[in-house]
């Protein structure tokens, strides 16, 4: 009986597929094992990996990133136009959009949302990325006009950021109590830090999607227990798998490991405001002392490639000539800079949360010892690390990583420009580099931008405020019952085409 039923389902799916008349729903309930559960529900200020993965099912923005080309494409927006001078963006919304509570989604909601992100009081994650925006106004119910202070080609990528660029209802209630978005799934409820239930939104703008009837996020803090839950069929998908457990998933029957190129690159960063790291020769010496091949091998357990810039999985290629691994040259540079018996401590961010960084730090400490630097790799609890490095800037060096963003601007401007909100290396860019970083934001031609960022990153490689180390392998795991799942370099869960099969 069961067999007949599934045969029928298969035949039906084929028929629908052939005519293109695929309908919403019928795809079952997908259970996703996650580490944390919802901590902060406001999409504009959320920052935790788990939160973003949940909220991106509920909220949508004007644009989204195409999982294949990584280029921004319309989501709530049907189309958009940029004026000749690049100063006015006109966005046209799809017709008949509604929020989960049934109210219509119109241009005024978009204006409200973008202004909410720009408002300093909100503390939105994307606020600084919308800094070039001068005004946002509704021309009519379906048209939004965004006026810029200067050309800003990155805006499309910014507006395509999941969750952080979400459209929220202007007349919405308390977003923190009950999220209301326009995405493919509606928030049903949660047991705090235990499970989150979502169900299919019938009025999603795509009449054929989503295929799933419901999505349930099951919180399992312990990773071994999370993998066991997948192996025993209690969950169907894991939104992250650590390197040590990847092999176990690969070997298990009925489940597969999904390896993808992530946008996550780890780096060794130095406090360029503090001697001797204010001397470029010392930074270059350290960069050349580090054996990136060995670091990448140890940190990613052989699964990740060496990185020479912080930009990975980008829609815009960035090419540089890296500094060679050359301990002899490193010693010579240190001697030239008059640095002897250099001794300092450095710590990976996140406490013990990112074992790849801890493994990288061990190799780096060994590499630096080989050129006469006594670099002690210590572990600081995440909060302490943040206090010292980000808030007080009272540190010598660290190991950390950049996770999000497929546009090179997102991996560069915030960290190394004069206006960089995350420039906790205290790096002072030359006029040339600053100009490149500004031009890169204005330019819209991908080929020109590729040249600009290649040039900018060559300067950053030579100045070495940070030493990019390796691309952190993106790993998820899914049951063989899951069909149509896709992810992106930002580890988004693209669930609109997913359904469960037997």
């Amino acid at each position: 009986m069961g067999r007949t039923a599934s045969l029928w389902a298969g035949a039906a799916a084929l028929a629908f597929g052939a005519t293109g008349a695929l309908a919403q729903g019928g795809g079952g309930t997908l259970r996703i094992g996650v580490a944390q559960g919802l901590v902060a529900l406001d999409p504009h200020t959320s920052s935790l990996y788990s939160d973003v993965r949940v909220l991106q099912q509920i909220y949508r923005g004007l644009l989204t990133t195409d999982p294949e080309t990584l280029a921004p494409v319309g989501d709530m927006a049907e189309s958009w136009e940029v004026s000749e001078d690049g100063l006015v963006w006109t966005v046209r919304l799809r017709e008949g959009l509604t929020f989960h509570d049934g109210t219509a989604l119109t241009a005024s909601d978009v204006v409200y949302s973008l202004n909410r992100i720009r408002d300093e009081a909100t503390g939105a994650t994307l606020r600084s990325d919308l800094e070039p925006v001068e005004s946002v106004e509704a021309v009519d119910d379906l048209t939004v006009r965004i006026a810029l202070a200067r050309p800003y080609g990155v805006l499309a990528a910014v507006l395509a950021t999941p969750v952080w660029a979400a459209i929220v209802p202007e007349e919405g209630g308390d977003l923190v109590a009950e999220p209301v978005g326009s995405g493919p799934f509606r928030f049903v409820g949660q047991i705090e830090r235990t499970s989150i239930s979502l169900e299919r939104f019938e009025d999603f703008h795509d009449p054929e999607r989503p295929l799933l009837d419901a999505v349930e996020f099951v919180v399992v803090p312990d990773e071994s227990a999370r993998v066991a839950a997948l192996l025993s069929g209690q969950v169907d998908l894991l939104d992250a798998v650590s390197l040590p457990l990847a092999g176990q998933v690969e070997a298990a029957p009925g489940v597969s490991l999904l390896a993808y190129e992530s946008a996550w690159v780890d780096e060794f960063g130095m406090n360029t405001q503090r001697p001797p790291f204010d001397d470029v020769r010392v930074r270059r010496a350290i960069a050349m002392a580090i054996d990136k091949e060995a670091v990448a091998q140890a940190a990613t357990m052989g699964r990740g490639a060496v990185a020479h810039t912080m930009v990975s999985a980008s829609s815009i290629p960035v090419e540089v000539t890296p500094l060679p691994h050359d301990p002899e040259a490193a010693r010579a540079l240190l001697a030239e800079a008059g640095v002897e018996d250099l001794s300092f401590e450095f710590a990976p961010c996140g406490g013990t949360a990112f074992p790849h960084m801890m493994r990288a730090a061990e190799v780096i400490a060994e590499n630096l010892r080989a050129v006469g630097i006594d670099a002690r790799n210590v572990t600081l609890e995440a909060g302490v690390w943040g206090q010292r490095v980000v808030t007080d800037r009272d540190y010598d060096a660290f190991v950390c990583g950049l996770v999000n963003g497929v546009d090179p601007d997102q991996k560069t401007f915030r960290y190394f420009s004069r206006e960089g909100v995350y420039n906790f290396s205290g790096f002072e860019p030359s006029d040339e580099l600053q100009a490149l970083l500004e031009r890169g934001r204005e330019e819209t031609d991908p080929a020109v931008r590729s040249d600009i960022y290649s040039e900018a990153w060559q300067i950053l490689v030579d100045e070495a405020p940070w030493v990019p180390l390796y691309v952190v392998p993106g790993l998820m795991a899914l049951s063989d019952r899951v069909e149509g799942f896709r992810t992106t370099p930002d580890s988004d869960l693209v669930l609109t085409d997913v359904r469960l099969v037997d």
Partner: protein
């Protein structure tokens, strides 16, 4: 008896008070703080200072403690300082939700520990020095040396992954689905129970061997009482006092196990509340959970002392 109770309760109160002072100071030694945790790493020092002032965290610790104590005596533990979804939730609610999971888990775990440990210990005593005794002792050593997370994972692998009999994730509240709740806490309770069965078995064995060699049992045997009666009437009763003591003392250990096991099996109990509060630097919640754990330990041991009198009428608690 009443005098005894009075002094013991007073002692318990002083002890809990001391723990609360220590906890208050310790949680504030944690670097960071709730403002930093809520605002994230991007927050400027000025923003952090502003929020700290708004939360009253810029005042002297002694003043903060006095205020906390005043409220806590009326069972008002303040509101959670975590950002996001739980911002402003009364701590008492978080504690109540946590207890609704942790108390059944601890009780079931203890029941399993006694149900497994006591018969094994008595069986070992009855065959002291023989094969059964050695096997029980060896098993106890193994169980005692198993870290809870390891045993928990082993049970998941066997009962959830291999056999598929019991769930290892998917909490449901006891109010919504009592049977489902029992199923989901069975593996975690078993984890706690097996580990705690070891000291129970060892204590029961030692006590039973001692009692069995004692005068009353010898007399009973000489008087021709059947072995069953001897064991149940004399040996079991005599062995109960040390067993109850060890169960009481195990409560402290049990709580450590509860934190690990709740994390392993994703149960929203008090142990997880504590971890979340620590991670978010949620001072009021962390403080309250520590005090609740301390109070549970002190009160269970008080209960144990009272139980002695019930089990063995020769023990007459006296005050002073």
């Amino acid at each position: 008896m009443l005098r005894f109770l009075f002094w013991r309760l007073l002692g318990a109160a002083v002890l809990i008070l001391a723990v609360s002072v220590l906890a208050f100071a310790l949680v504030r030694f944690l670097p960071g703080g709730p403002a930093q945790a809520a605002l994230g790493l991007r927050a400027s020092p000025a923003e952090v200072e502003r929020l700290n002032a708004a939360l009253g965290l810029d005042r002297p610790v002694a003043v903060q403690y006095a205020e906390w104590l005043g409220r806590a005596l009326r069972l008002d533990f303040g509101t959670s300082l975590s950002g996001g979804a739980r911002a402003g939730t009364p701590v008492a609610d978080l504690i109540a939700r946590g207890l609704a999971v942790t108390v059944p888990l601890a009780l079931l775990g203890t029941a399993i520990a006694v149900a497994v440990g006591l018969p094994l210990g008595l069986a070992a005593a009855a065959r002291a020095g023989r094969g059964t005794d050695r096997a029980v002792s060896a098993a106890a050593v193994v169980a005692l040396s198993l870290p809870p997370f390891y045993l928990g994972y082993l049970l998941i692998l066997v009962f959830a992954v291999r056999l598929g009999w019991l769930p290892s994730v998917g909490y449901v509240s006891p109010a919504a689905d009592p049977a489902g709740f029992l199923r989901i806490i069975l593996l975690p309770a078993l984890t706690i129970g097996i580990i705690n069965a070891a000291p129970v078995a060892r204590t029961a064995r030692a006590a039973a061997v001692e009692v069995a060699a004692g005068e009353p049992v010898r007399l009973a045997r000489l008087a021709g009482a059947p072995p069953g009666v001897v064991w149940f009437k004399h040996v079991l009763r005599g062995a109960m006092v040390p067993v109850v003591t060890v169960v009481g003392l195990q409560v402290g250990f049990l709580m450590g196990g509860v934190i690990v096991v709740e994390n392993m099996f994703a149960l929203p109990g008090l142990g997880r509340q504590m971890l979340i509060a620590a991670e978010q630097r949620d001072y009021p919640t962390l403080q309250a959970v520590i005090v609740v754990f301390a109070a549970a330990f002190v009160l269970v041991n008080l209960l144990v002392d009272l139980l002695y009198a019930a089990i063995d009428p020769r023990i007459r608690p006296e005050g002073g």
